[in-house]
Symmetry: C2
DNA sequence: TATTGTTATACTCTATAACTATA
DNA sequence: TATAGTTATAGAGTATAACAATA
């Protein structure tokens, strides 16, 4: 740092470093995705629906750590934009099967390419090998049994 | 995952993985630090004050990416708890020098040990060498020039 | 004219309780 | 009795505009 502050203790904490890096990457992500009017949660929900047609709200919530009440408004918004469709579940009358519309598929094809490009450019100080190493280490943390 | 969802695209994004890991570590951090009634921002502000006695609000804001209006209430809270003191700046009448009180020092000595222990246990799926590698890669990202 | 610290305020994100309809 | 989806609501976290005092 050029301000001469002692930040050594904070920089020894895995959590501090992980959060700072996440904010750096996501800040760029939000700038890049504004052109599609997609915030991070919209994007991850749409991406998961796109790769898993027929997924239910509950599955989205547990996969993405979103609380059910907070998903309601999000789904309402992307449905109103005609990016997703809901159809009744064949065996469970309570659940709804979610899928991308043609419009949603077209948007996400572009958005996913932009997102990957954004994240890779945010990590461009790292070599491709280092990025793979980083992702592997991060997954060890958040996939570890509690 | 045991739910059979295809999450391969999201797991290819550095930002998604970094955010998921950060939330995992910080969730544990918040649980562990509740005994001291410290939230992440309180902790990082107090830690930086402790390691940089005489630091100003503005320096805290730029080092921690906090906006000045949002620091006001935070400082008011930890000052009311008698964890910090404010003294007038010797050369700049606008600024205030911040420092930990004896009570603040005692609290932070415990809290910093607990925080490090919490973060290391959250990353216990990694070897010490892997943790060092991870921290180095993360710093390359958030310290890189924009 | 620019900067430090502040107030007021708004918007987003996240969290809890309670309801309905189905299982 | 438990679960999927929903409503209402409250609390954090984060953002901008504008001000007084000082540089």
């Amino acid at each position: 740092m050029s301000d001469g502050l002692d930040t050594r203790y904070l920089e020894s904490l895995p959590g501090y470093n992980t959060r700072r890096a996440a904010l750096t990457i996501i800040s760029r992500f939000m700038d890049r995705m504004a052109q599609y009017d997609l915030r991070p949660a919209d994007f991850s929900v749409l991406s998961l629906i796109g790769h898993n047609p027929g997924i239910t709200s509950r599955q989205l919530c547990s996969a993405l750590n979103i609380l059910p009440p907070n998903l309601v408004g999000l789904l309402k918004g992307i449905e109103k934009r005609q990016l997703i469709s809901r159809s009744s579940h064949p065996t469970d009358g309570r659940a709804m099967r979610l899928a991308l519309t043609a419009k949603g598929k077209a948007l996400m094809q572009e958005a996913e390419a932009t997102a990957l490009e954004s994240d890779l450019s945010a990590a461009s100080a790292l070599s491709p090998g280092e990025i793979n190493t980083l992702i592997g280490l991060l997954q060890k943390i958040y996939l570890a049994p509690t």
